[in-house]
Symmetry: C2
Subunit: 366 residues, 2 copies
């Protein structure tokens, strides 16, 4: 067993990707005394505006990647669609957490589902689609209606289409590019939740309270804690996240999105190998937030307490909803977070607000 | 009455001074969606490492100051020994909060004490010393022992000397440069506290819970909340801070350090026209911290709630105490903050740790 030397404050944390997740990682790293170096193809990315150093270059620029890797003490990524080849280059010089093998699995919806299957963890019924010859058997396995998704490069509802009839499959598959896809059966869930977990090199695990998440058009709208899910389902959800993390030898913070059915079953929907939108409420409500916990995990520091001090509702500000920032401040217990994006686009996550309230007593079952 | 247009997120906040207070202001501003521009004479200042833009130039470089002022939407300072002439240059182009008149008063221990006197707010007995002819009458007014302090440029115990006898005065005054000084009588206090307040342009006021502060060699060591001070003294302390803030037409966060005597009297010791070391615990324990509240005040946003979620003890890491960072993390409820200073020097504030605990019930008097 190799011993991992902690990467001490003062060292530089490299972050691949310059979006809001990278930005909030930079802010957390700075509080702990780390320097940050952000690598992103875009000028003036949200993260670069708060980083000590920033590299603007494409993800396939080997020279820039080598320079980046040589100037950081540990690297991570904030976006699961970073090419695995990019990570391969960086990790020739410096450790990258989570690992590229984890990244590859979570970049592929089929591999993700198969991992769950291999661990006996329930998911929606699924079947791969490579050619139109697969349509009939896939639909038989999953039942219809279902959702056709590209195996790769999907996020925020992109790369997917609802399938109601066999004839929908053909047109949807063509629209999605007629490539490698996965057909998933619909789950009649009572709620969607996510487990934000952290795991370090020694295998130590930490989890946050579990939010209930509501989506619209595939984009997260709100996360609420407490979720109201039953205690037994909560234990199941946490256990699933821990088993997945251990099987991936995961290092860092990750998220597992899950469905909870009316009969209390818990099914995995997606694994995100990074800090997660449904964990943003931890910034304002927890002793340690998901961003700091990730920095601690990848730098080999012990985990901070995830104790929660408030009940919360986090709401995303998407597109021109960002104009609501002013109204949100009418409530002194609403915390505003904007990501420094100058261009407003439909569907673009511009910020979020977290509304705090005193922790309500647990309802007693009787 | 003039109406102040709020400076919206996306705008740039200029910060004069690049130390840890500027750094934590930058982090808070970033969460709200502001850009930051730090002006500091030193390369790689703690604040510049997290700012979107940084200017490295002396405080008397008029050209650099003019460029700085032309690129920011509002300016503030994180250090009360910034030359008033520097602020004068900047405010020709852009608003500066707190005002230069406030800065000038708080840069002069005598003017500060006289302001309190004019408002009927108690302080230690004091007398100005300009020449050695003033020694006898000053010592008679304050009593001995006392403390001789330079009127200007003092912080963290610098520029002061304890006076036990008349003969001490002569040597101490020479050591301090034989310039404008103030002799202060010693106060037999039960505890030292500070009120961290915020005031906006409309006159709205906000205060945090009051910490008990312990100093050693003139440097703050710990701040503890709750302080255990009596409710009546707390009301008095808050009222004093609010009266001082109103009389200065103060905009931003400031701190008033006070002595509480055994009979419950509250005396003002010092006014700091900026976020304050004794308010660092608000980062981890409050719904809104002092840094965010300052950004809100100077940008014209409504105040956030200062509700406190934990009992806390904040301890500074001074000089080589910074090496304790690792041990501090053995407690998951201890929050580490390091300032990114590469050079450790005796007496230099390198970071702080805040230890959280659940809020204890108030002791009942009976």
């Amino acid at each position: 067993m190799t011993t991992f030397e902690a990467i001490p404050p003062g060292a530089t944390v490299g972050i691949l990707g310059g979006g809001q997740l990278g930005r909030m990682l930079c802010l957390a790293a700075a509080h702990l005394g780390y320097r940050t170096h952000v690598y992103c193809p875009d000028e003036n990315s949200p993260a670069s505006l708060v980083a000590a150093t920033s590299t603007v270059a494409p993800y396939d620029d080997q020279t820039a990647l080598n320079v980046f890797a040589s100037t950081v003490d540990v690297a991570t990524f904030e976006f699961e669609n970073i090419p695995a080849e990019t990570i391969d280059v960086v990790q020739q010089s410096v450790g990258v957490s989570p690992s590229v093998s984890t990244l590859k699995i979570t970049q592929d919806r089929l591999a993700e589902k198969q991992l769950c299957e291999s661990l006996g963890i329930p998911t929606a019924p699924f079947a791969p689609i490579s050619t139109s010859d697969d349509f009939a058997s896939a639909a038989e396995k999953t039942g219809l209606p279902g959702i056709l998704k590209t195996r790769r490069m999907g996020y925020d509802g992109k790369g997917q289409s609802t399938i109601r009839t066999h004839s929908d499959l053909d047109s949807a598959w063509m629209t999605l590019g007629a490539g490698e896809c996965i057909l998933e059966g619909l789950v009649d869930f009572e709620m969607e939740v996510s487990v934000i977990f952290a795991r370090d090199r020694s295998g130590a695990l930490s989890t946050f309270d579990v939010p209930e998440n509501r989506h619209s058009d595939g984009i997260l709208r709100t996360s609420r804690v407490p979720s109201g899910m039953a205690g037994a389902a909560f234990e199941t959800a946490r256990d699933i996240a821990h088993r997945l993390a251990a099987s991936l030898d995961y290092v860092g913070v990750g998220a597992v999105e899950m469905f909870v059915t009316r009969d209390g079953a818990v099914l995995v929907n997606e694994i995100a190998p990074r800090v997660h939108n449904s964990g943003h409420w931890t910034i304002d409500a927890c002793a340690t937030d998901q961003f700091e916990q990730h920095i601690r995990a990848i730098c080999g520091l012990p985990f901070g307490s995830t104790a929660r001090a408030f009940d919360v509702v986090m709401a995303n500000l998407i597109g021109d909803e960002v104009e609501q920032w002013r109204i949100s401040l009418d409530d002194p217990l609403t915390k505003l977070h904007l990501y420094g994006k100058s261009e407003v686009r439909a569907g673009r996550k511009m910020g979020h607000v977290t509304t705090l309230s005193p922790i309500a007593p647990e309802p007693t079952a009787d």
